[in-house]
Symmetry: D2
Subunit: 305 residues, 4 copies
C-alpha cells in the first residue's frame, strides 16, 4: 500500500439479511458499485459499517469477503475499534491473514478515557498489532476528543494518519498545520462536507459516507478540490448539501445517516437495508421519502456530469 | 430466587492479574468478604466489573467461578450488556447453565438509540433470553436515558426491576411512584448516596459500589432506612459522603470510582488492583492517598459499630 | 430579620399586565394568598419573577409595592442578579431604602465565569452592597456551578446562606456537611422536590416555586420534615410529584414552570398570567389543561388536609 | 448605508478605565487604528464589547462617542441585545439619534427560548425598533441556536442579514444556500477562521475579533478570499491560526479571547485593558506571554506584507 493514504475512501455499510447473516450478493454488488465509481480505498467495519453490533464471527466474514472481492484493486482498511483489547488484537491479526492493508482504531467506547489513558492504551495495543494503523477521532461515540498532542504521539508510535469525524473544522486545520512537515502522514476528514476544505488546505482525503451511494460525485469533488476548480466545487458541494438536507434528514440521531444510506442502496437495488439491532431500517413512509430524494438527486447529478 | 429483588447488591469489581487472566484467589476472597458482610446479592460484570473491557471467554470465567464460589448463598445477577445482540444472548445462556439467577441489561452503548429503538431491541432480545432480567439505566455510558414509559414496557415484557444509575433523584421518585402498585417490581438505585431516599420512599435496594469495600456499612444503612432510624442514617450517610470525598475523589472521570475501589481492596489485601485497558490502576502516589483514606474511614467506621 | 433564614420562601412570580406595567391588584392578592398560606418569607425578582426581562424601573416598583404590602409580616428577599455590577448595586440600595430585608445574588449570567472570577466579583461587589445577602447557585441559567469552596468564601465575606437550584442532591448534601458547624448559615434548596431531604438532613428551607400556587402544601411538608413524620411526608411528596407531572409538564424548557405557575394563579383568579418577552403565556389549549390539573390537585389536596 | 453589509467588521472591544468610566483616549485611538487598517464597518457593544456588563448610561456613551469619532467614514453597527425588551428599544432609539447605521440583535440571554418564542419576540420588538437590524446567532451565550427557518422569518420581518457565531460551518453553508437568491441579505461569520470559507462560498463578511489587533491582516484575507487567491489565503490563514494558538490560548473560557484582545491592544499602547466585572484583565505573567506572542506575530506579519 502506498502512503500517504489519500482520496475518497467510503466507510462501507455492511449489507445484512439478519443480525447473524451477511447479504453476500449485496456485498459484492456494493463493492463493484464503489470501485467502478472510482474510489481510492474501502473502509469497512466503522460506525457506518455497524461493526459494534456485529459478532466477531460476522465481522471476520465481512473482512474476508471484502478482501476477496476487492482483490487488491484498492486498499482495504478495517475498523478494529472494540471495548476489548483482545478483540481488537484478534481482528487485526485476522485482517492481515486475509489480505487487508491497514486497520483503523478509535478509542474503546464504553468508559470515557483521558488523553493519557488513550496513549497508554495505544502503547499496550500497538506491539500486538499485526498491521499498520490509522487513528480515528469520533468524540460523539467514544466520549473522548483526541488532542493534537495525542495524535502526534500516535504518529510517533507508527500511525499512518488520522481520520477525524469530530465535525470541528478548526481542529482539522490544527491537525493539517501540526503535520505539515510530515506529508506522508494522512489527514482524512470523516465529515464529507469538509472534503474541499480538507484537500485545498493540505489534507489528504475523506471517509465520506455519501460515497456509498454516489461514489463518482465524491471522486469528482475530490479531483476538483485538488485542482482548486472553484466553480465545480461549488456545484458539487451543493449536491452534497442536498444529500444532507434530504437523505440524511429523515429520522433522528446520527444513526439516521447510516439508515438513509442503507435505504438508498436498497432502493437502488444494490443491497439489503436490514440494520443490526439496536438500530432498525426505515419504515415504508421513510423509504418512499428516500426514493423521491434519490430521484431528485440523480436527475440533478446527471445534468451535471 | 425470591422477588422482589432487594437489599444491598454490590456491583462487584473483577479481580484481574492481566487483561486475559483472572485473579482467582482475589475473586474468592472478595466474594467471601462481601457475603460475610451481609450483602443480599451480587451483581457481576457491570460497569464496575469492567465487563466491556473483557473478552467473552474471560467474562464466562467470571460468571462460572462466581456462581461456584457463591454456591447459592445469595442470588447472582450477571451483566450482559453488549453492543452485539448475539453476545448478550450467549452470555445469558451461559449464565443460566452455570447457575446464575438473573441478568441485567443496559442499552447497547455505541450507537445512541431512541426510546422506540430500545423497546424494539428488547422485543428482539427477550424471546431469546435464557434468564429473568432487570433493565439498567446508565445514561452517562449508554447515551440514552430510559423513559418511565420504556421501563413500563420493559416490565410488561417481563423485567423484574430496574437498576437506575442516572443520579437523577426526581426520576427515581417518578419510578417509585409509577410502580407503586407493582410491589414485586424492584426499584434499585445505582447511586449509593440515594440509598436511604430510595428505601424510605418505597424502593427496594441499592447496587452500591462502595459495598465492595465496606459491605457492612451499606447493609446497616439499608437496615436503618427500612426502620427509618434517622439518627443512624445520618451518621452512616456521613460515612458514605466521606467515601465520595476521599476514595472516589482521587483521579478523574467516572472510572476513578472503580479505580479507587480496586485500589482499596488491594490495600486491604483482598485482591489485585489491575485494571483492564483502556483503564489503568492508580499510581504510587494515588495508592498512598487511598491507604490514608482507608485508615481514616476504618477508624471512624469502627467507632460507630 | 432573624437568622438563619429558614422555612418556605416562595420565589414569587411577578404579576404583569404588559412588559411595562405591573398587575397591582394581582400583586396584592398574590402576597395575601402567600402570607395567609403560612409562608416564612418572600423571594422576589428571581428567575420565577422574570427579573432579567423587566426594566430597572419596573423592578423597583415590584420591590417597593411588595415591601409596602408585606409590611414586615415576613422577611422580603430581593433578587439583584444582573449582568451589570452597577445595576446590582443600585437595586440593593433601593431595596434597603424601601424596607427589604436581604438580597439574593447569582453570578452575572452572560459571560461564563470561573470560580475565581466569581469570588473576585463578590469581592468587588460586597463592599458596595447595602443589605445582607444570600448567594444563589443556578448553573442552568448562569453557566457556572458554584463550588463548595466558593460558597465557603462567600460565607466568609458575609453571606447569610445559599439558595441552590442545581438540582444536584449530592451537592446539597455536600453543602450541608460543609456548613454543619455553622448553624446560622442557611442551606436553602431551590428544588422543591428536595424539601424533605434538605430539612431532614440539616438544611433550612426551600425556595419552592409551587408554593406560589399551594403555599399550605409546602408549609405542611416543611413541618412534617421538621418532625420527620414520614407518612405525611410521603403523602405530600406525592402531591408535589403530581404538580411536576401535571402543571410543570405542559410546554417545554425551564420556562414552562413559570408559565404553568402564572397560568394556575390566573385560573385561580389571583392575578394576570402575562409573561414578559421573550416568554409568553400559555395558549387556550394549555390553559384548559392547567384548569383540569388544578381541579384534580385541589380535590386531592382537600382530601388530605 | 449600502446593502448588503459586507467586509471586515471588527466586534470592537470597549476601552474602559473602570466599570463606570470609558477610556476616552483609548476609544479614539482604537477607532483610528481600525479605520486606518481598512475595516469596512464597526460593530460595537457585542460580546467582545462586554455590553451586558455595562450600565445603559455607559453603553450610550460608547455609542455616542463612537459615532462622533467615526463621523460616517464607515457604518456603525450597535449591539442592542438585552434581557429587557425596553432596554433594547431604548438603545436602538438612542443609536439612531446619534447617527448609528443599524443595530444587531441576539436573543435575550437569561431564559432559554424556543424558535417560536424568538420569532414572537422579534414580532413584538421590531415595530418599536428605530433602525434597521441584523440578527445575531450566539448559541454559547444565549442558549438558543437560531434555525434557518427562524432566520428566514427574520429576513421577512426586515433583517439586513445574520451574524453567525455558532462555529458550525455546516450551518453557515446552509444559510448561504438558503439565501442565495437574496444577494442583498448578508451572511456574516463571527468565526474569524471561517472568513475564507464564508467569502469563497457566497457569504459577505466577518465580524472578526482579531481585527481589533490586526485589522490589515483580516482585510487582506478578505480581499484574497474575494479573488480566491489560494496561496495568499493559505499564508494568512496560518497567521490567523497562530493568533488562536497564542493570544487566544492564554486563560480559559470564551472570555479569554476578549481578555487577550484587550491585553494585546494595551501592550500595543492603543488602549487600557481594564475588563468590567465579572471578567478581569490578564495578570502580569499572562501579559508577558501576550507581549511575546505579539512580537512573534508582528515579525511574521511584517515578513509577509
Amino acid at each position: 500500500m502506498k502512503t500517504p493514504v489519500k482520496g475518497i475512501i467510503p466507510p462501507m455499510i455492511t449489507p445484512l439479511v439478519s443480525y447473524e447473516k451477511l447479504d453476500n450478493q449485496g456485498l459484492s454488488s456494493l463493492i463493484e458499485h464503489l470501485i467502478s465509481g472510482g474510489v481510492h480505498g474501502l473502509f469497512i467495519l466503522g460506525t457506518n459499517g455497524e461493526a459494534p453490533s456485529l459478532s466477531y464471527e460476522l465481522r471476520k466474514e465481512v473482512i474476508k469477503k471484502t478482501c476477496d472481492q476487492v482483490n487488491n484493486r484498492v486498499p482495504v482498511f478495517v475498523g478494529i475499534t472494540d471495548t476489548s483489547l483482545k478483540g481488537s488484537i484478534e481482528l487485526a491479526e485476522y485482517s492481515r491473514n486475509v489480505g487487508a492493508d491497514a486497520v483503523v482504531l478509535a478509542p474503546p467506547y464504553y468508559f470515557p478515557v483521558s488523553q493519557a489513558e488513550m496513549v497508554d492504551y495505544l502503547e499496550t495495543l500497538l506491539p500486538r498489532l499485526a498491521l499498520p494503523f490509522l487513528v480515528y477521532n469520533m468524540p460523539s461515540h467514544t466520549k473522548v476528543h483526541l488532542s493534537v498532542e495525542t495524535v502526534k504521539l500516535a504518529k510517533n508510535m507508527g500511525a499512518l494518519g488520522i481520520k477525524d469525524s469530530s465535525g470541528d473544522l478548526f481542529y482539522l486545520y490544527e491537525l493539517i498545520n501540526a503535520f505539515k512537515d510530515s506529508p506522508e502522514f494522512s489527514i482524512i476528514t470523516g465529515t464529507e462536507l469538509f472534503l474541499p476544505e480538507t484537500i485545498m488546505n493540505g489534507g489528504h482525503g475523506a471517509v465520506a459516507g455519501g460515497a456509498n451511494i454516489f461514489p463518482e460525485l465524491f471522486v469528482k469533488l475530490y479531483e476538483a478540490s485538488l485542482t482548486k476548480d472553484f466553480e465545480v466545487i461549488s456545484d458539487l458541494r451543493n449536491q452534497v448539501l442536498k444529500i444532507y438536507n434530504t437523505i440524511y434528514s429523515v429520522g433522528k440521531y446520527t444513526s439516521r445517516i447510516t439508515k438513509g444510506t442503507k435505504c438508498s442502496l436498497s432502493v437502488m437495488g444494490i443491497c439489503n437495508d436490514y440494520m443490526a439491532p439496536p438500530l432498525h431500517r426505515f419504515n415504508t413512509a421513510e423509504r418512499i421519502q428516500i426514493k423521491q430524494n434519490l430521484n431528485e438527486l440523480r436527475s440533478y447529478h446527471k445534468n451535471l456530469t
